[in-house]
Symmetry: C2
Subunit: 266 residues, 2 copies
């Protein structure tokens, strides 16, 4: 399971300011601390004014690469911004294009670049009408996204399908729907990978981090292949170690014991 560090996101006003002011040390540091904390991919979401986004993305990707040697997930609903970020990536095959949906503009705008660069692409299980409420509806979109990718001769394991989460404050069964969607995709499309954005589940509720870390073992058990999460949340990372020990990914808990000894479980 890959940890995608989610902290570089202009939804955070401090990050937005750093992007607008071209504060390179701030952005590079935020990449570096995530890498040190265990992130394996760094998400880069630097939207501000739409016209500025391709330039923001190119700038951020260049700055982060000077400091951190990890794959980057170039994250925007705007295909031009994703394309600009991918062009700036040194190692395009390792990069992630985040994201496509079944909307024609996003498919046509992004998949040719994905095919050309051999990068990974995130597909959101939503279409022109939005997010299907049921696992069956999301699986239907997933299959169509898999077809679009196959049609362009992109390898199936380069597609990560985002099962999507709604907040449980809005839809009480939202976690169950996401978990069932993950299982349905794995069963129906075994060559395709899955991804989820953890913290969406807790939006609108207090004590959000508690909900996020309790959702984590359920996602791991459902077999998710990558998670957008906050690697700087120490208790979340401790819950990840515990989940891996419980789910049989850590023989006799030896990694868990090592994490305890290096004070990562406090």
């Amino acid at each position: 399971m890959f940890i995608i560090g989610e902290k570089i996101n202009t939804v955070n006003p401090r990050v937005l300011r750093a992007v607008e002011e071209r504060d390179a040390p701030f952005i590079s540091d935020l990449a570096q601390v995530q890498a040190r904390a265990g992130a394996e991919i760094i998400d880069v979401n630097v939207g501000s004014h739409p016209s500025a986004e391709p330039g923001n993305m190119r700038w951020a990707v260049e700055r982060i690469q000077e400091i951190v040697d990890l794959p980057l997930a170039v994250d925007s609903p705007n295909p031009q911004a994703v394309r600009a970020g991918l062009e700036a990536c040194h190692n395009k095959e390792q990069a992630w294009a985040n994201s496509v949906t079944l909307e024609k503009a996003r498919l046509e705008g992004l998949l040719p670049g994905v095919a050309e660069y051999g990068c990974t692409v995130v597909g959101l299980c939503m279409d022109e009408r939005g997010l299907p409420p049921t696992p069956a509806g999301r699986l239907e979109v997933a299959k169509r996204l898999a077809d679009e990718v196959e049609r362009r001769r992109i390898a199936p394991d380069k597609l990560y399908l985002d099962a999507l989460v709604e907040p449980i404050s809005v839809e009480s069964k939202a976690a169950l729907v996401s978990l069932e969607t993950l299982r349905a995709i794995r069963s129906a499309l075994p060559e395709i990978k899955t991804v989820i954005c953890l913290s969406g589940i807790s939006f609108g509720l207090p004590a959000r981090r508690l909900l996020n870390r309790v959702f984590l073992p359920l996602l791991l058990q459902a077999g998710v292949d990558a998670i957008f999460m906050d690697p700087l949340d120490r208790r979340l990372m401790a819950a990840l170690r515990a989940s891996q020990a419980l789910l049989g990914h850590d023989a006799h808990g030896l990694k868990y014991i090592a994490a305890y000894r290096s004070k990562q479980l406090e």
Copy 2:
């Protein structure tokens, strides 16, 4: 899901001393604090010398009932001690007899009393040879226990089958085996209830409470009907509230918000 408070257990030297010295306030208080923290059933495990156990059990049940108006789980491998505890219970129909296995002495020693009193009985999924290592093996024992109960005209929903947990420090797949056993029992024996002892999973590892609270949402998702756990572990109880919100048992997270406001999630 029922919370069975596990704190009155002579495996804890302080509890053993209180039982041997007939320290009624200590035992009553330990029942009361568990009830206030959310326990719905109080487990009473007061083994010391085998010959003393029936007397210990009678004494403890009498003292606890003077203070706490909750069902008691009379817990001993010794049928005479369980019988002595049941005899002392005011409300025998609400009591739990904990536990039988397929061993003849335990079946014959306990089930006639269970049938007579109409109480609940915990059945451990183990036979004379011990604990089957696979879910299929445990389900086989579960079916035989269900047959034994049915043969004595005990209602099926009075049987709680303990899927049992081994420590992951010993068997890396132990949590997965227990979860799969719970699912197998629910599927094959839908009238029968299930129970688990949470903290067995973490025996032999450091930071045990972290493992216990990460195991909790997995057990709830597997549909377990009752859990032996420590209701005084505030972070475990907070994880329980979060699990219930995530698993659709708490519409719009309203109970979670209430727990947050009453500072139960800290």
